[in-house]
């Protein structure tokens, strides 16, 4: 158990090269400091869960990571590249290696499920052959157990199905890193368990490294190899799920025992 750890020292102890390396990250909106000196490493094929109360900057953190929100201070290195120093084209290239599963799924509601999945293929990889597109779409949908939903519109899908299609749409570009923003938010316990299982399957099948943002304890327990607790914009405690659960830190204790 590492209370008040120095992540830089921790990282140095580990021989593997991190896929994502965040150092002294700061982000404010007006006077409100959302991220205040965050330090994190994500290692290859690791599921890193970030837990914390609403408003602690969890989602802002991963949006900074893909350059959706520019950070104020600190370094974010993704696969050795400093995000803030990339040109627009370089950033787009890097983003192809990162899959982002949004909290609300963010499916394009004017398109069918099939068109949602074809969209990045056509635009990023220039694939327009109907046979090839169909093969890739069905393969991605089979990965999430929804091959039969290809011709439905997002409005016809349940919350859990939308999450699965959202994950399939990111997987279709074969990313190396997956970012899940509240993957189980708003879902019933059974569907949540299925999504947790899917996150583990994705890692196993595609060898992805994942950051999972959640405040769902069962999601953190099921999916996380390592759990980081974000408190007041800082990564306060880090360890396995069991280590965090046994923490005597009042903030962490309150979170786990509520």
């Amino acid at each position: 158990m590492k209370n008040q750890v120095d992540p830089i020292l921790t990282a140095q102890k580990v021989t593997r090269v991190p896929m994502v390396k965040i150092r002294h990250l700061k982000k404010s909106f007006g006077d409100k400091k959302v991220l205040n000196d965050v330090n994190l490493d994500l290692y290859p094929e690791e599921n890193l869960v970030i837990i914390g109360r609403s408003g602690t900057g969890k989602s802002v953190l991963i949006k900074c990571l893909v350059g959706l929100i520019p950070h104020d201070e600190g370094q974010i290195q993704v696969m050795g590249k400093e995000v803030s120093s990339l040109t627009k084209d370089e950033l787009n290239e890097l983003r192809l290696q990162i899959g982002f599963s949004f909290q609300g799924s963010a499916l394009y509601d004017s398109m069918t499920v099939r068109e949602n999945l074809e969209f990045p293929l056509k635009r990023n990889q220039g694939i327009h052959d109907p046979g090839k597109l169909n093969e890739l779409v069905i393969e991605a949908l089979e990965d999430v157990g929804l091959a039969s939903a290809a011709d439905k519109t997002p409005a016809e899908l349940s919350g859990g199905m939308k999450k699965r299609v959202g994950i399939a749409r990111t997987l279709i570009l074969k990313p190396k890193i997956m970012l899940y923003d509240e993957p189980t938010a708003g879902l019933d316990p059974i569907t949540s368990a299925e999504i947790n299982e899917l996150i583990n399957e994705v890692r196993q099948k595609h060898q992805t490294s994942s950051i999972i943002i959640t405040h769902d304890i069962s999601c953190a327990r099921t999916t996380g190899d390592r759990v980081v607790a974000l408190v007041n914009g800082k990564n306060k405690v880090e360890g396995t799920f069991q280590e965090l659960k046994e923490s005597k830190d009042p903030d962490i204790e309150a979170f786990f025992n509520y």
Partner: protein, 247 residues
């Protein structure tokens, strides 16, 4: 003051980005789809409004002309009024309402439901796909819609004239066209292209930068319509002064 200047800088950047992305990545398929949405789907409303405007304008102008014994000037009066001012203005205002709210609300809801962010993180350049195509579509289709509205309004006018005087369509259109100059036609088309540009830029800007959930979407749609309409009146006034230099 600082807020207004920041907003102005943001709008300038947005227009600059639209021009840059137009030349750097051209989205032909989506542009055609948007032209269909903007143009074809507006035909009925524009046609209906133009026809009624033609009928009403003729009905209301005729007694005044008749009192001076100048009833035969009616086709010339109607055609000049329609082509120089009424056609572009009516089409512009209808499109500001119909297209402005549509684009503002569509992009606004895509923004608040993170669909634009999803495009961004998958490296698909949403600006070229969503904004440039819509701005181009409104700019290209407004002049066509104005020409269409002009013809329908003149047909409406002829219908009214014919109901009263049983006039010939050839005679009516000969009279109407004779009083129109090339300057009238070209200035009307160019003016309407600027109307389309204003509607596209304003609606896309409002939608693309909307925030604050469903309330933000409503605000984006509202801003698109109101600001587009103001721009249309301003462009109409400025173009009137400019065109008068050549008359």
């Amino acid at each position: 003051m600082k807020k207004q200047l920041t907003e102005l800088a943001s709008i300038t950047r947005f227009v600059g980005s639209t021009i840059y992305h137009f030349f750097s990545s051209f989205e032909a398929r989506e542009l055609i789809r948007q032209c269909y949405t903007v143009g074809y789907r507006s035909f009925f409303l524009i046609g209906f409004t133009a026809f009624v405007a033609g009928v009403v304008f003729t009905k209301q102008s005729r007694p005044s002309l008749a009192s001076f014994g100048a009833e035969s000037w009616l086709p010339s009066l109607v055609s000049q009024a329609v082509i120089r001012s009424l056609g572009p203005l009516i089409t512009g205002l209808i499109c500001a309402g119909k297209l402005g709210s549509n684009i503002g609300a569509e992009l606004g809801s895509m923004r608040v439901s993170e669909q634009i962010d999803a495009m961004e993180v998958s490296g698909t350049r949403p600006f070229s796909y969503l904004v440039v195509t819509r701005v181009l579509a409104t700019t290209l289709m407004l002049p066509l819609l104005v020409v269409y509205a002009d013809i329908i309004a003149l047909l409406g006018s002829f219908t009214m004239v014919n109901m009263i005087n049983n006039s010939s369509i050839t005679l009516f259109f000969n009279e109407a066209i004779a009083s129109i100059t090339y300057l009238d036609v070209f200035s009307s088309i160019i003016k309407s292209a600027f109307f389309g540009l204003a509607i596209g830029v304003v609606a896309c800007y409002a939608g693309y930068h909307s925030h604050g959930g469903t309330a933000g979407v409503g605000k984006a749609a509202n801003t698109s319509v109101v600001v587009s309409m103001i721009f249309i009146f301003v462009i109409d006034l400025v173009s009137l002064q400019f065109i008068n230099l050549f008359r």
